[in-house]
Amino acid sequence: SVTEIRSGFTAIKANIQARDPIRTLSILSHPHSLHKVKLLDRCCITHQLFNFYVDKVFKHCKTEDSFVNRKISSIANSFLIVKRKLGQCQEQNKCLCGQESAEKYKQILANYEGLNVTSAAIKSLGELDILLDWVEKSG
């Protein structure tokens, strides 16, 4: 699924990032990049972020471009698969949430809610490669 998410995103990345005029802000990387997250907290942060995208981001990313909308649908439906797998990990207590993941996620939400919802959603979608790179590096 991550491979398919990546290919879906690659197809619309330039289009989405061109819709984000605010280059000085980041949803996922402000003030610290995801790469500073401790190993123990990675699963929880990944799960929280997949929930974040499914619950908050994709629904506010509708565009006038049919191709882009279809790719967003493809990404969103693939996110459901990963989200479900991570949910199973959490149910089996293999995805524990510590203090750091709670603070990190709180920061991301604050960044998100600091913008109007459409700008925040488009910016978050445009940062999907940051999330995918981090998920793939986290292994």
């Binding site: 699924s1 398919e4 994709f58 969103a76 439906n77």
Partner: protein
């Protein structure tokens, strides 16, 4: 008063080797051209986006009664699909696929395969079936099935070298596809055997 346009019927999916097609029976209206439009809805749209539907622009106002939905069925979730007919300014109700479609149900056929004895080299040429496909190739010396060897081919680019053969015995090969996205394999292809003899390619 304008007669109503019937909604398309017999809507079904043909899905083979991760290529998915929606088909339906034609709607006939005497002396008129009927055009069709297709929309899809994934689990995400049902659960998180107010059950919204997404049009497939390649299949908007088409006269054909088939639509390639492969690019849009891009996650292993349950999809809804629907079609409606337009005749001039008149429009039918939506005809909806009975039940969901999940790509996990696609039928997987054994790969086309060509085994080549190039001198003492045992080679296999595999059909390029797209990025979703990997191949599991089994090869063995005839009569020594217990010592079967396996090679996983993740990308089909060119001929795959399997082994260096001894002169004399037959070498046999069979292959199956594997699709990671749905975690399923096809059945094995027919076995093909070749034999190395000097420098010439030999077929059996």
């Amino acid at each position: 008063e304008d007669a109503l346009v019937a909604a398309p019927q017999n809507i079904s999916i043909l899905s083979t080797n991760m290529k998915h097609f929606l088909t339906w029976s034609p709607v006939t209206v005497q002396g008129e051209t009927v055009k069709y439009s297709v929309e899809f809805q994934g689990e995400y749209e049902r659960e998180y986006a107010n059950e919204s539907w997404i049009p497939i622009c390649e299949c908007s106002l088409i006269t054909a009664t088939v639509c390639n939905i492969t690019d849009d069925i891009s996650a292993t979730v349950a999809y809804n699909l629907r079609v409606r007919a337009d005749v001039g300014a008149r429009r039918s109700e939506w005809g909806t696929l009975k039940g969901f479609f999940n790509r996990i149900t696609t039928s997987l056929t054994p790969p086309l395969m060509k085994v080549i004895a190039d001198g003492y080299h045992l080679l296999v040429e595999l059909e390029d079936m797209g990025p979703a496909f990997q191949f599991c190739v089994l090869y063995w010396k005839k009569g020594q099935e217990s010592r079967m060897q396996q090679k996983v081919v993740e990308e089909v680019s060119s001929v795959v070298h399997l082994d260096t053969m001894e002169a004399g015995p037959d070498y046999c090969v069979k292959a199956q596809t594997y699709v990671e996205a749905i975690n399923r394999s096809s059945s094995f292809s027919q076995t093909q055997c070749v034999r190395a003899e000097g420098g010439t390619s030999m077929w059996l």
